[in-house]
Symmetry: C2
Subunit: 198 residues, 2 copies
Amino acid sequence: MRQFVIIGHDAPTTAAFSLDDLAGGAGRLDVLCRCVSAAFFLSHDIREDVRVHLVLGGEYTITFDGRTVRRLNPDERSTAALVRNALEEREAAIGHVPVETSPGVSLTRRGFASTLDDAGADGTVVQLHENGDPVVDTEPPDDPVFVLSDHRSFTAEESETLGGHTDRRVSLGPKPLHANHAITVAHNFLDTDGFQSH
Amino acid sequence: MRQFVIIGHDAPTTAAFSLDDLAGGAGRLDVLCRCVSAAFFLSHDIREDVRVHLVLGGEYTITFDGRTVRRLNPDERSTAALVRNALEEREAAIGHVPVETSPGVSLTRRGFASTLDDAGADGTVVQLHENGDPVVDTEPPDDPVFVLSDHRSFTAEESETLGGHTDRRVSLGPKPLHANHAITVAHNFLDTDGFQSH
C-alpha cells in the first residue's frame, strides 16, 4: 500500500468554512484537496491501494481509503465538501477511535505524531527532502508512507517527530514542488519502476 | 520554452458560468484549471519559461504566459475567474488577433488547428500516447509542445489534426493519467534530465 500523510497547518478543524473560499478563509484547504486528488485519481480509475491522511491543525486527522472511498471527484470543491462533512461529526470522534463520516472517509481526533505512528507501523516512512537521495538512484520502498506539508514548512516540532520516524530521505528532483505535484511524481516513480519498453 | 496545449471539449465559450460549479455547469473547467496550475507552479515560484493554451470548445483559445502572468494562484477557483474574465472580452477578439484580458493572459478567437500551428511552429510537438516511446528511453526534446485533452478523448478530427503536427509520441508510464498529472510528470522528466546525484 502507498500512504500519504499531509499536514494542513492552517486547515479548518470545524465545519464552519465556506466552499467558496478554500484558498482564503478555509486555510488553504485547496492544497490538501489537490493532494487527495493526486493520490487517488488515474484516468477513469481510482488507485485502490492508497490511503491518505490529512492532519488538520494538529487536532484531527481525516483518512481516505482507496478501497472503500465513494463520492470522490477530482475537483477541489467536492473534496472539500467531504472534509466539511467529516468535520461535522467532530463531536463523535472521541479518543483515537475513528468515525466513518462517508464511505471510505473517516475522522479521528489525533494529530501528526499519533497518525504517523499508525501509518508508519507497517511501512517505510519516506521524507521528501531537497537534500535526500535522488529518487532515480533509489530502490522503490515497500509500502511507502510519504510525509508532506501544505504551503508551509514543517515546524521544528513536526520535523523532530518526522525525524524520529523517517526510514529514508528522498529527493524527487532539482526543483521544489507543491505537495500535490510531489505526490504525482512519487506515484509515477513507483508506477514506472522497471518500465522501460513495451 | 515548454508549451502545453489543452483541449476543453465542454468548456465554456462565454462568461456565463458559475465559479461554484466548475466540475458541472462549467463543463469540467476544473480540469483545465488544474492543468494551468500544474504547468506554472513550483513551490514559492512560477515557471517563467512556460506557455499554456486552453482551447475552449474549438472556438476560443486562452493563452497564459509565464513571463508576464500576474494574479495567478494555484487553486481552481481563482484560475477559473481569470478564464471568465478573459471570456468577458470575447467581443473584442476579432480574427486571430489576441486580446490581453489580464496581465499575461490573452484571448484569441481560434480553435485547435490554428493554435497548434502557432505553438508548434518553433517547437517539437509531443503527443502523449500509451503506445508511445517510454519517456525514460527518450532524449528530452527542445522546446516541447505537449498536447493534451481534458476528461474526454481527442475526437477523430482532433486526432487527425494532431497526427499532422506530431513530431514524437511519448508514453509517461504504464498508468493512464489525468491531463494535469501528465503535465507534472512531463515537467519532472525535463527537470531531472541528467539529475542523478548532488
